[in-house]
Symmetry: D3
Subunit: 239 residues, 6 copies
């Protein structure tokens, strides 16, 4: 039995609110239950120095957490003068995932920067961030098309992400904080809307994971991704 | 005529939403028009080293702005490894203002940390932050009383803040971004609910300010503070 | 009665020594009693990137304090790798104040950098710094005219600064360290030689400040500024 | 056909040299072909503050690369004052992997720090680092037993790591730099000597990865791990 | 012929002004010609962690240069967030030199921190700093004796420093900036009042230095040190 | 009697292994007994900004030590975000020494960066680094000639370095860690193959050094340099 009473293959309530702030080309507040992440897409002309002159675009991401997004306050990283290893690692993961969603050649020399800032954390912040950032990314790409800077849509596919893990020996989908802190294994899975894997990142904290359990977890993740992509699509059909 | 069509002594629409996030002892989303700041109060036992053993409490604040809170994206301070001078200066201002609201002796050896993070900026982020942080502070102090850690309320008075300035030669209240970027003089005024000054910080960017103009601006600020304190009180009477 | 025996509207002895060091275009050692600040003006061609191509100049300032300028040694900021919030805040204040003294259009694409380094501190370092930096600035602007790089004087007016505060309930001018550490309210006022306000920055540390007290303090500051401008003018008429 | 002429399931030549340096409790130079990583295990009494008083030990890791370990020189991270995101991410991966190898309860309040410094890079530095660090870890744990500080061996199992990927559409084992830079998908797999998964981290850089391909890659990794564990065991049976 | 017209074995005019600032236990403004360095000695109880519990004292030093001490402005190190390699290297040299002057056992668990800040630079700042810091150190040690914290004088000997170099092939003493920037070899020599070497640090920038030239330079330095020690003694006999 | 049983003028066993890693233009593993330093020379087109357009080249160096090169682990400087003063000071020494070996005019606008990373430390790391870096430098310069980028050899002379010191009152050559930690005086001497001094850097930790002792130490260093240059030449005659 999960602490939340959810079925093992049940996501938390997912909400996706577009246009949450007004300045960004894409701005999405996504909730996976009590986890709430503000994802903005900022579109700028030009690409970083190492990409220049190739006619290709760039997609990158940064992750942050407000100091009191968590149960006890974390020191503000800007004040400490250093991002934690965890912050850096998650930002890189989000960037890789979203880069996969875009045909950089078709994007041309534009950069989309995805900022994912956790307003409230209850487990799964990185998977919520990826899922929300993809919606913000679509709004960012649409703004380029609306402004006639791009004539075709550089989106290759939607990406969404979900965590799966073994909680008290049972595979469960979309772990909240209580489950996450007790789980033996935590696997974050990023997939496309056509069920291809973009990123798989799993760690056995306690017992090593047997091959069949890995397969069960991956199957469970696939179920969750289908629902998440549906939620993304529903949000994107609104004005 | 103001760009927004407001009267010269008219605040923008003010909204104050308490309990915006669930972990913090106080959590307030405040809007001054399109300026939206999330203010959390984190209450912890103990005080910083330089205060220890005096039996007195401490109130401090930090300020931040999400990278895309503004019209064009600002680099993330945590990633740059350094807070800007502006960020540091505003954080210190908020801390001084809120410290004035509390009887530190009556607070005892507790620390209240106020984090003010701008989700969307349209001028006046520091005044919105102070006004919202005071509501969050009250919720933080109430949590100490509810938990029987304090038997009396250490709040001395409410504080609120508003900007005033000379826009095209006329004194105006609560400048938005368009006004602020064109104003000759910008004055931020922090006052108590009994109309005492806590902080006055004004800069003449162009022409030096004559004494009578300073007095007109201070009077205008006083009007705005009355309305802001009323909005704070209204929010605090809700559950 | 003030600890120093001064009248409430009496400045400490003011000395202004120009040409204190030889390399800088302007170099002034200013004393407000035991507070001694070395202010240099460095004039360079060109302006920062954000100002380029507008034909306008720039004036900026940095503040520092030698580690043993104070009663107990402070850690060296260069060694700690970080300026304190106080240092940053004061540097920005000095910059704003001195920028107001200059017609940036008439300055053309030159930058004047004012470095204010406190050799000995006894309260009022920021006001001494502003007052001394303005003299150094004039010497810097004169060097541009002497070298025929400028044909007209871009100085709009002199600026000077002084602190006022409530000490044991009485308004006093130019607080020294003992007064400052016990004052209820501390107000730093920057004014022009024609008595316009450039910057007003005041904090009530204890009791909020009543409106009439604010007016008394501003009047007292005005008296002090008149004397400080006279001291600046006297220094500038020497060779 | 692989650039190196290797079979698709063929590791590069693996060498493991223990006691490469004399000060560390464990010191291993491991080569995966031209990739050479010096892995040291430093054993110290005590644990980090967040672990104190629980009677449990700690295993952590740091990763580095000499500036000219690569084809073109990288800036020295110590001189830049900042580790790259990649460095941080790999150090965390190594730490998680090696922590899994040890029964922290049985280790008691000792810390083992694994430093993995790449002397020469040719792809697969993180997998070589994990594989070598596990041998250094065993030497570190043996030193504790030899000194009678531990009476039982806290090692739970050996861990080893290998990369697999799709190169020109074919699954290949242990990618070298040329393959890695052209591979569509790169998967790093950490397993135990009993073939349990400890960490799976894979990224599809181009086409998303189909489920069956993921399974083929994981099977290939399992083959490689068997050989790597054999090489570890052979090295550890030497004096 | 030297640019300044000095004889090859002639020091610049040396002035040593004690009690230049009032807070420090020792405060000396030293001039070697146009090079002026403010040297303060700060005496505190206790020693750094690595020295604790041995009953011995510590002497350390830090070096800095005001941004406009030189002909063109240098960026402020505190603002850049990093001391230059040159600054670090000189601070360490001064610390080693002054540590040699004191019997740390006799000092007991006190720390003397010597801050050497260059107000105006014209070559030889590190040698002026050492020479002035030794006078400040003596005043610091005297304050400990005056306060009866020490009953005996822990000073072992005075130390002084001077530069020597080959300028246009000729050995010259106490190089000023013009000579220094053209010299082939620059040697900084720290000696005691009984003509023992404490530190010798020389670099041949152009031609390597022949053994006999090294000996000629060391002899010249010895001459200069005698005069510098005399100047120190003269200053110390004043009140 | 020296702890190692060596004669007072006897170097430790010296080995110089070229081509230790494959990517760098020069790559040398040098051993002075148990001190082992990997020295690489990286040759790049262009020079730093302050050298541009003069047609001259640049030689620079950086020094590092692996965390467990020493008996107890040192914190990783990249992780701390700061190089120690010692690291900075040694890197600058190596750079000056090697710059002296090259005719920068003849080098043309190329930069040679020498990275000296200590794999194992047992005293004398800086002298081993200089001696090894010179061999790596020669290989770097040869690569430029082999690629026809240079037609003449810009090497002016070989440089080598050795430490000398007073150990129990006796002058000894090439101190190992045990001797170094007990020596009264430690002198690092950099000389050319024709016995000219390039750098002399000596510190008396205890008793000041008498002039005749300095001369004896310098003579002893000269003996050691002759042997080191011979070892360099022997290594360079191999393929």
């Amino acid at each position: 039995m999960r602490p939340s009473g959810r079925a093992s293959n049940e996501l938390r309530p997912i909400t996706i609110e577009r246009h949450f702030t007004k300045h960004a080309e894409g701005s999405v507040l996504i909730s996976f239950g009590d986890t709430r992440v503000l994802c903005t897409a900022s579109v700028t002309e030009g690409v970083p120095p190492f990409m220049r002159g190739q006619g290709r675009g760039w997609v990158t991401a940064e992750y942050g957490m407000l100091p009191r997004a968590t149960n006890t306050r974390n020191n503000r990283e800007a004040a400490r003068g250093k991002q934690s290893g965890r912050t850096v690692e998650i930002g890189r993961l989000i960037g890789r995932a979203l880069r996969n969603a875009v045909d950089l050649q078709a994007l041309g020399e534009y950069t989309v920067t995805l900022d994912c800032d956790v307003l409230q954390a209850d487990g799964g912040t990185r998977t919520a961030a990826i899922t929300g950032a993809c919606v913000a990314l679509v709004d960012g790409l649409r703004s380029l098309q609306r402004d006639k800077k791009l004539l075709t849509d550089p989106l290759r596919h939607m990406v969404a992400a979900v965590s799966v893990g073994l909680y008290k020996g049972e595979p469960v989908l979309d772990l909240d904080y209580i489950e996450d802190s007790q789980a033996d294994t935590d696997l974050n899975v990023v997939m496309t809307d056509s069920e291809g894997f973009v990123e798989v990142q799993g760690t056995a904290e306690g017992e090593p994971l047997a091959g069949e359990d890995l397969n069960r977890l991956l199957a469970l993740a696939r179920e969750g991704i289908v629902d998440l992509v549906a939620a993304q699509q529903a949000a994107l059909t609104e004005a």
